[in-house]
Symmetry: C2
Subunit: 515 residues, 2 copies
Amino acid sequence: MNGAESLLRTLVHGGVEVCFMNPGTSEMQFVAAVDRVAGMRCVLGLQEGVVSGAADGYARMTNKPAATLLHLGPGLANALANFHNARRARVPIVNIIGEHATYHRQYDPPLHSDIAGLAATVSGWVTTVEDSAQVPALTHAAIRAANGPPGQIATLIIPADCTWAESALPVTLPVIPPVPVAIDQQAIDIAAKTLMSGEPAALIVQGRALLEEGLMLASRIRGKTGARILCDCFVPRLQRGAGRAALEIIPYFVESALQLLQELKHVILVGAKPPVGFFAYPGLPNRLLPPGCQVQTLSQPGEDAITVLQQLLEATGAGITDSDRQPLQRPPLPSGDLTPLTIAQSIAALMPEHAIIADETITSGLGLLAATTHAPPHDWLFNCGGSLGQGLPVATGAAVACPERKVLSLEADGSGMYTLQALWTQARESLAVTTVIYANRQYRILNIEHQRIGAGPPGSKARDMMSLERPDMDWVKLAQGLGVPAKRVNTAEEFNQTLKSFLGEPGPNLIEAII
Amino acid sequence: MNGAESLLRTLVHGGVEVCFMNPGTSEMQFVAAVDRVAGMRCVLGLQEGVVSGAADGYARMTNKPAATLLHLGPGLANALANFHNARRARVPIVNIIGEHATYHRQYDPPLHSDIAGLAATVSGWVTTVEDSAQVPALTHAAIRAANGPPGQIATLIIPADCTWAESALPVTLPVIPPVPVAIDQQAIDIAAKTLMSGEPAALIVQGRALLEEGLMLASRIRGKTGARILCDCFVPRLQRGAGRAALEIIPYFVESALQLLQELKHVILVGAKPPVGFFAYPGLPNRLLPPGCQVQTLSQPGEDAITVLQQLLEATGAGITDSDRQPLQRPPLPSGDLTPLTIAQSIAALMPEHAIIADETITSGLGLLAATTHAPPHDWLFNCGGSLGQGLPVATGAAVACPERKVLSLEADGSGMYTLQALWTQARESLAVTTVIYANRQYRILNIEHQRIGAGPPGSKARDMMSLERPDMDWVKLAQGLGVPAKRVNTAEEFNQTLKSFLGEPGPNLIEAII
């Protein structure tokens, strides 16, 4: 059995069921092997940012790694921006990168580059195979590393000769997750005492604490202690809507965040870090908690947030406190002008139960979260790393992960352009994704940030660098060109009708909303 | 004057006239400054691969650097694949990357990453500004570093606070290129003797030796000594066609390259390296020169190839030998089926004088070079690094550099998809680019490489990973969606008619050739 086949069989035994890929010559042995090994779904992306973003979306919904297969340094380079986001989301990914044959690298052929150096910027684990016999053991180690906890990108670099040479038999052992570290009971007691003190306090939660069970525990602690529950402005996956407990999201704009947090005297961190501004601005602080606010870190990202919250709940004596569940309450369908607010209302009115929302709306998302608080239960996926172009790929991966659910991919026209190739993969795989493009035809966030730097109104050349006009993009044609049915809408009524109709179809499809 | 303005003024004084960009919040001071400083043309790309590839194309045609302006690590990451190609083309680029404020990095905000680590993989020079007062001196140093020789990517990382704080006055000194190192006359004499020996010998040339003047010198040496003239299969810029001297290009496929080179006893390298295979294959050598072939390196890439060739010409006593100039001879217009060969014939029949050909045709380029040997004089730009997705951006940058010339962007449908956003920039800047998409709806090179690895015919899953069908892409809609007029053609006659008509228009435009 050659190295490629042993690699593939070890992946399948290790629970990796999907490989998002954009292979090249160095990865042909892997591609040749996929028909010899059952159990691996192969999904092609036409640009590597689609591949890495889809693996991120898949992992967020399944909590397990997909594999990615990429071609040498440049293939990895194209994937890095969405790997950056995936790293910030702490998801598991087994990232396989082809490399020149071990004896060919020394000649510095045209495609040679520092793959390990590139991979190190996003990976928690990077290893290069040097002998085909190592392939299965290192593949197994990569899966284990990817799973964490916390989840991380594990990059395995495989020279071409290690894929075509005879290798060792695949590793068939399951990948056993390590036992989470026990939480110090004394720390729990201190935190409980703080929350019960009556002083303004908040829990800032991350990771699994943002799923239904964790939020229920947190909300019972809130019911007993009066502490607020907060999370960072962009988190990997938030379960929300009717039947779930609500929490406060720290706003993106520093001024608003400072205002929201200004009364706090105590903060307890569960898998989170003390909040900081996304960017620094002249004259504004970069730490968002008020001076003098006491911070206690109760658990790290890799630790078991659910157990921590259970222990904290017990320590506060909140055993019989009810959680506060949001009621189901849909708004009426909007009418009139198409704006971010009427789109939000329409989505809240029409979104199906257990929808997955991949949100890269940037400035156009205004009002979306507020409008959907009482919508049917759903999952919200944010852009955790701030690198634009993750929305369409993450939606793609989430749809691969959850074929029985609808994915609503809410995307700004500027950020959507970085990785629009994802639409083709959605069409090829017949994924249940309805994309809404918020077409404001500008980098509106940059117009806002330009105002904030105090340089006065932008001149004509500066305006040009923030405008997406001249020419207007036509997202209907772009989607159709990639095999996805699409429609342009200009009013709230048209939007309502099109969204309802598109959600009733198997998908994918796309609405260009002119706002 | 703040750091951003001092940076911009130093760039303009240093001869940098164009900035390709995709800025973000950290770069807003630079964007705000562009209206206050005359002399910098700003060109927006909707994805950073467009930005880096355009800077490459611009530099190949002008032999001077453009600036690139990118947003933090992820913005740089998206640009890396085409920077990889630019590094292999040895072009000068001044690469400006925004960074978080110096005092903000320590908090590891979401967009924080190892920018210098990423930049090091493609740059010959990387420096991070730590104080706004350093901005002009470091910018000047970056221009000097970019210019080389040889040209290279010089990356300057600028924290946001160094752009908004008061800085030093701009550097107004011109950037003086260093004097090239003199070539050892003894080495020249040895090389001349080798070439005159009567044994099978070749010059392998690179860099400026591939432009008209260098090729004329080389061809006169060939006329006197009988030595062959060769170049690598993918070079940055080759001047060819009527009135120019021809040379032999070493083929991509190893078997063909070995055959072409098998008789050689001596090779003289002028700015080139000994040729190696693009990839390694089981059972094939990776060095392409026959065993026992003597290799003499006469000059390095940074050295003055023209002077070297002049000295070599003198040393061979070839002072009065004529160069061999290709005659002008266009083929007749083809008819019938549309194939790579009929497309090549049509292009040779219709291409205007001094056209610039950006070639990323991969397998569809078969016959193109042969058909155009006697076409009117033109420049051919190859993909030097092998990272796909450089064709449309390089064509864009070449058109910005040479507004008086026509650019023919010959692109495979698979590789075109990596950076199709370049078409939007072509439309916005009204660039004279006619794109031909060779739509074979597959990664044909991978189908060929799959055959070559000896794994038997591909199974259905493997075929799927090399196919661009299901759904077919519609390049007419994609181009129109990005503001570029487009037409699909199915026969040689339609191709002739459309190419003639599109070349007569100011551009840009696009032909989807179904082959």
